[in-house]
């Protein structure tokens, strides 16, 4: 492997890792607070992409506006899911899990009659190629990195510098104690659902012009997101970031050197070895 190829592979790995991080952030946020694994995340990613398809691709709205619209609409959808599914079962983990799996299947099944059976595509938003250290990479892939950074920083500031973020952290540490201190647990949970869904939507909206769209498009990113949050530690935002970057590099460099299957296998071997020595993942803690 030449140095140029390695460098190109690392840059692609960084871009891949950024997409993984975006997917994993919302998932880990919701797990950290409510200890639920949101199986709807992949379906919400798909819906975010389809908002871009219709808003930007079909109706000609500016991409940026449609991007925020996707986050807003699906953030509201997160609120609705919290109100209609999570809250009625009083946060029961198993019942919520089953209901979210059912919701995912429902959304994906409805996707075909609503969006059509053929793959859809969205026109390129960021045209052209850039050279980084002599290595060519497309503008649209490069844009993933700053957008991921902005969203990660935004989430960090939201969680650490706002009253709502403090309430989220309080619930994550001890839900009952937080409630006794006057934290509106339902509202904060709804906000976590909203933010988690909005992040999944952002990820889908960002990927829409790069990949093709179909109702099942969220399944593979969801699998990657699961790997990342296990790797980084369930519920840990820094873990999701580091996990995403590591997996992005494994997927890119190993696949370039050895092929796709060894890369897929190695990511699991890496996780198994890590969990043997650190069962909570890189930054996780006992639940």
């Amino acid at each position: 492997m030449t140095f140029e190829l390695l460098l190109q592979s690392m840059i692609i790995g960084l871009s891949l890792g950024s997409t993984y991080i975006l997917m994993a952030l919302g998932l880990t946020l919701m797990f950290g607070m409510m200890h639920i694994i949101n199986f709807t995340h992949g379906a919400v990613y798909m819906l975010g992409a389809f908002v871009i398809y219709y808003g930007f691709g079909q109706w000609g709205l500016p991409y940026g506006v449609t991007f925020f619209l996707a986050m807003l609409l699906l953030g509201i959808f997160g609120f609705v899911i919290e109100r209609c599914i999570y809250r009625p079962v009083h946060g029961g983990v198993e019942a919520t899990l089953v209901a979210l799996i059912a919701m995912t299947t429902l959304i994906q099944s409805l996707g075909y009659p609503i969006f059509g059976t053929l793959d859809k595509h969205v026109p390129t938003v960021f045209h052209g190629m850039y050279a980084i250290l002599g290595v060519g990479i497309s503008a649209e892939r490069l844009m993933i990195i700053p957008v991921a950074v902005v969203l990660v920083v935004g989430l960090y500031l939201f969680i650490n510098k706002t009253k709502m973020g403090a309430a989220m952290r309080a619930i994550e540490q001890d839900k009952e104690a937080a409630a006794l201190q006057g934290v509106n647990v339902h509202l904060v949970n709804a906000m976590a659902f909203g933010v988690g869904f909005a992040l999944a939507a952002a990820s889908g909206a960002l990927m829409a012009p790069i990949f093709k769209l179909d109702p099942m498009m969220g399944e593979q990113p969801l699998l990657k997101a699961f790997i990342i949050i296990i790797l980084g530690g369930l519920g840990s935002v820094p873990g999701a970031i580091l996990g995403g970057l590591i997996l992005g590099q494994i997927d890119s460099i190993v696949a370039t050197v050895l092929g796709l299957e060894p890369a897929f296998l190695l990511s699991f071997v890496f996780i198994i070895l890590l969990l043997l020595f650190k069962p909570t993942g890189l930054f996780g803690h006992e639940v």
């Binding site: 190109q8 793959d119 990949f211 399944e219 593979q220």
Partner: protein, 392 residues
């Protein structure tokens, strides 16, 4: 509250079950109706193959029905398509074929997708069902599958196009291949590379990907590092090929792409960008020039479905073959129809067609006819040559 929640959950699950089970697209069966099952990808990346196939079957049958139907042994029969979507997922392909045989009681089938057809090989043999697949898989056309009649030119036939490439474009010497990681991909690439290497081409990379993959960058980076002159995307569906071409161009690949299977280049251009697909060679997809029979088909197809799809031209083959076979056999028995198919000559949309290939497959169960090959010129799949099959 809890009761209300469970009522809501039950309702939702019922809806999901209803949606996922779905129902075939068909009319009420009757005694004088011949049902032909279609198990094809009607959604997902391979839907650009499955949808025109189903529509082509329906159109051919509708035209026969409008003329009074088929006269078999002095009795008139109407033809009916019973179609299910397998999404190019093998498990769903097995389930749809089981359902067609056990529940819908069909005796004649088409299966689109090599991996799916291969997975159903034993089941259809045991059930004694006649199958006219559009599917690439090793051993599918073989004396041990006497009721399987492959109804689309396969790599052993279409690879002959490489001779034309060798003659017309001697500057192309290094080939890289990227295909789905299943029976369809393995066999297609095996046949193609054996053929090209005999012609003197060097295969510099041979990659396989899981269906559903969207980010091909790492695999392309590895492949393009070998500096191929041409990339074969044989057996890959249009949705995947669109992404492969788009990402390969982003990585700086300037050479040609080739697909000797079948591919809707307009779908590919929609994803990859029109300019990126320019110069691509494909088999079985022609937008221009169209012979009179195809022009007429185009008009009828567009009138019925509102939109033209050139994939339907070759994917109507199973319907034409089935009608020819059953007419000659004058029987509803799949075995008698199979016997008739081995010797009947019929018209498809490109002209005369028949089942042959005994010298290669050991049985006359492979459709043979003059195969059309196109080059994408100014965004349009333009026929450049029609080649006879390399075996009888």
């Amino acid at each position: 509250m809890r009761q209300r929640y469970f009522a809501f959950l039950s309702l939702m699950l019922c809806t999901i079950v209803a949606l996922s089970v779905g129902g075939p697209d068909r009319v009420q069966a009757a005694d004088n109706v011949i049902k032909v099952g279609v198990s094809a990808p009607l959604s997902g990346p391979a839907a650009p193959w499955g949808i025109p196939h189903k529509q082509a079957m329906e159109l051919v049958f509708e035209e026969v029905n409008s003329q009074g139907g088929l006269d078999i042994g002095g009795k008139k029969y109407k033809l009916e398509v019973v179609a299910y979507d397998h999404k190019y997922v093998i498990a769903e392909g097995v389930a749809t074929v089981n359902r067609l045989i056990a529940k819908d009681d069909v005796k004649y089938l088409t299966i689109l997708g090599g991996a799916v057809a291969k997975a159903n090989e034993e089941a259809v043999n045991e059930a004694g069902v006649l199958v006219l697949p559009l599917a690439y898989a090793e051993g599918l056309v073989s004396p041990k599958n006497p009721l399987i009649f492959h109804s689309f030119p396969a790599p052993p036939e279409t690879a002959t196009f490489w001779k034309w490439v060798k003659e017309k474009h001697p500057e192309i010497q290094k080939l890289a291949t990227i295909s789905p990681n299943d029976d369809t991909g393995w066999w297609s690439i095996k046949v193609e590379t054996q053929y090209t290497e005999k012609l003197g081409y060097t295969t510099v990379a041979k990659e396989f990907f899981e269906r559903g993959l969207t980010d091909f960058n790492p695999i392309l980076l590895r492949m393009l590092a070998q500096k191929p002159d041409i990339v074969s995307v044989n057996a890959a569906p249009a949705g995947s090929v669109g992404l492969i071409i788009k990402q390969a161009r982003e990585l700086g690949f300037k050479g040609r792409f080739i697909h000797i299977g079948q591919l809707d280049t307009s779908v590919v251009a929609g994803i990859a960008g029109k300019d990126h697909v320019e110069g691509m060679w494909v088999h079985g997809f022609v937008e221009t020039p169209l012979p009179e029979a195809v022009k007429s088909w185009k008009e009828r197809y567009t009138k019925k479905y509102g939109e033209w799809n050139a994939t339907s031209i070759d994917f109507a083959n199973p319907a034409f073959a089935f009608i020819a076979g059953i007419k000659k056999a004058q029987s509803l028995d799949p075995k008698k129809i199979a016997q008739a198919l081995q010797s009947v000559e019929f018209e498809n949309l490109w002209g005369k067609a028949r089942f042959g290939g005994k010298d290669f497959y050991g049985t006359n169960n492979q459709i043979v006819y003059a195969m059309p090959f196109s080059e994408v010129k100014a965004g349009v799949a333009t026929m450049i040559v029609q080649l006879p099959p390399p075996h009888n």
